[in-house]
Symmetry: none
Subunit: 402 residues, 2 copies
Amino acid sequence: MIILDGVGDRPIKKIGKKTPLEKANTPNLDKIAKNGINGIMDPISPGTRPGSDTAHLSLLGYKPKETYRGRGPFEAAGTGIDIKENDICFRVNYATKKDNKIIDRRANRIKKTKEISKSIKNNIKNIEGTEIIFKDSTAHRAALVLRGEELSDKITRSDPKETNKPPEKMEPLEKDAEKTARILKKFIQRAERVLKNHPANKKRKKQNKLPANTLLLRGAGKTPDVQNFQKKYGLKGTIISATGLIQGIGKIIGLDVVQPKGTTCGYDSNLNNKSKATKKALKNNDFVLLHIKGGDEVSHDGDYKKKIDFLENKVDSAIGNVLESINNRFLTILTADHSTPISIKDHSADPVPLSIMGEGTRTDEVKSFDENTYQGGLCRIKGKNLFPISLDLINKTHKFGA
Amino acid sequence: MIILDGVGDRPIKKIGKKTPLEKANTPNLDKIAKNGINGIMDPISPGTRPGSDTAHLSLLGYKPKETYRGRGPFEAAGTGIDIKENDICFRVNYATKKDNKIIDRRANRIKKTKEISKSIKNNIKNIEGTEIIFKDSTAHRAALVLRGEELSDKITRSDPKETNKPPEKMEPLEKDAEKTARILKKFIQRAERVLKNHPANKKRKKQNKLPANTLLLRGAGKTPDVQNFQKKYGLKGTIISATGLIQGIGKIIGLDVVQPKGTTCGYDSNLNNKSKATKKALKNNDFVLLHIKGGDEVSHDGDYKKKIDFLENKVDSAIGNVLESINNRFLTILTADHSTPISIKDHSADPVPLSIMGEGTRTDEVKSFDENTYQGGLCRIKGKNLFPISLDLINKTHKFGA
């Protein structure tokens, strides 16, 4: 399963009302469409604008409405924290606060936070009997987990989402969240004390960089109780991704998670290493999910040229490399988790293209992988249909009836 | 409604990657597609591999997830037993046991079991206050019904499904099934005593045929409480089928059931007589379901040549005969209950072709009845949508709203 994050788009006037996928020359992606069966897919449901997390859950056959309670658990699992059912998890940003206003939500896009994260971890282990687990992720990102009794994820974020505003108060949304709100308030205060005179921030001051002097929390979520992927499907699986959120989904549903060297969430990701990792994983797995994030990032930036370039010069050859290793044992599923139209620089509910290629499966007249795959034999399906359909095409479904 | 059982398929290399429906020359089937509106249909839902029973229920507008509790009730009703709500029913095979191992699951495909079935019926009428109803069906098949208090269908089968294995113990799957398990154990023991020295088996011994000396039970199910077809739709209906399971569905939902002379579940069925029976039924019914099983049987055998032959030389002319009698009063629905691809010799979840022809209904560009009907105006629908859509096309739906 190849998921090109955010690759679906809308027509762009400057390139003759074509979409980046229509415009880009992508012979390897088109090979899958040409030899497979095609359609379009609403990752969640028509008109529902998906997140990458909810969309991935849906495409993997997990019901997002039941299993999704915020991005926190996936972010936390993605950092490597061994989260447990009922943990309350948050996505954290290192940020810069001045005169009680957030002046940079990413503390000058601080790169290394291992050292200061360790200080927070070592200084704050328990508040009111609740275990505090804190871990750094890439760049300005980190995760916080509260583990204990009588906790709730029904709580607002502290991240004001804009600069020059004070951090928001984390408000309990239900009576049972008051204890959690109190703990979080204490946690942020204590973390700020740890950060205030931290050597890393003193060093940043000397370098004329903004200090990482506070933490912004968002994405509160309770760890869901989801069925293990292998138990659910009888398939041993691996996910290849450089994105914490997606890695976290893999960890929570029990997939092996691989982040190949030099891979990132962006245009600069080393997709050659992703291909290699995928080929390796195909040798001893029944299921491999290859996640490629760059197309989404350049879409959020509104850069259609870079999106076309990324598809033509990076994605297509990477997929070509992978295709060499795919034998009859495998079904190849090529799709996106959601559309991120250049024109709106954010996710949209536009359905995504879908091509499925496998030994003996039906085919159709579609010749290229783009938004016109709606003309193919799959017509329009929902994300939740993808896994059942795919399992049937590898003869792994149970018969309902006689 | 014409249901070509198991007719949907996947491309077959030996015939130029065509499906049997694409390859076969079927002018009468194509006439329906050409003059009608077309689409593909997931009998239950995308990726769900249907049985013939669950698919028929769905296509007739009955929810299989609510009404289907195993094939037993449909098999039993198909034999002519007048089953009642809450009866616990089983499909039964006459089989041959030696040294406590099943050496033939069909007792040499024994042909006549009327006589021995009568002996079982007359000798075993009641166990622990539970009424025992036993009846022969075609060839090695029979049905068993338990009628009484405190019975359960949550019980495993005795049929080991393979030869050279002992029959399985019928295990209760819930506490409330223990009494049922006890009754079934006693029933099988008593039936074996009846069969042991039965004249029919003595005769088989002389003919060097394996004796029918035991019974294998499977498909446990409690008779569902379903709404009568005529009450539900205001249509008087008849089902024309030679298949016990499908006849049973007809009986349970209250359709008249007709099995024309010389018709079978196979390639050898007299489809001419089925056409005649259909034409006759059209005269005094609002709804006629013509079920043709042979395409499924040859698919389970993996014989694509026979599937093409059956379609070209038997099915197409039979449908041609029926079409002569269809007037404007009727809508013609041509479809399958599920796909049975030659390549996998079993049901798959691949959607089935669907053509609906009626006076004044919309049409499209589709010219032939095969798996490419997805290009038509119905796009991709679910089996549960078929009856509501069809009722609307004959102006029999109620308006929802003003």
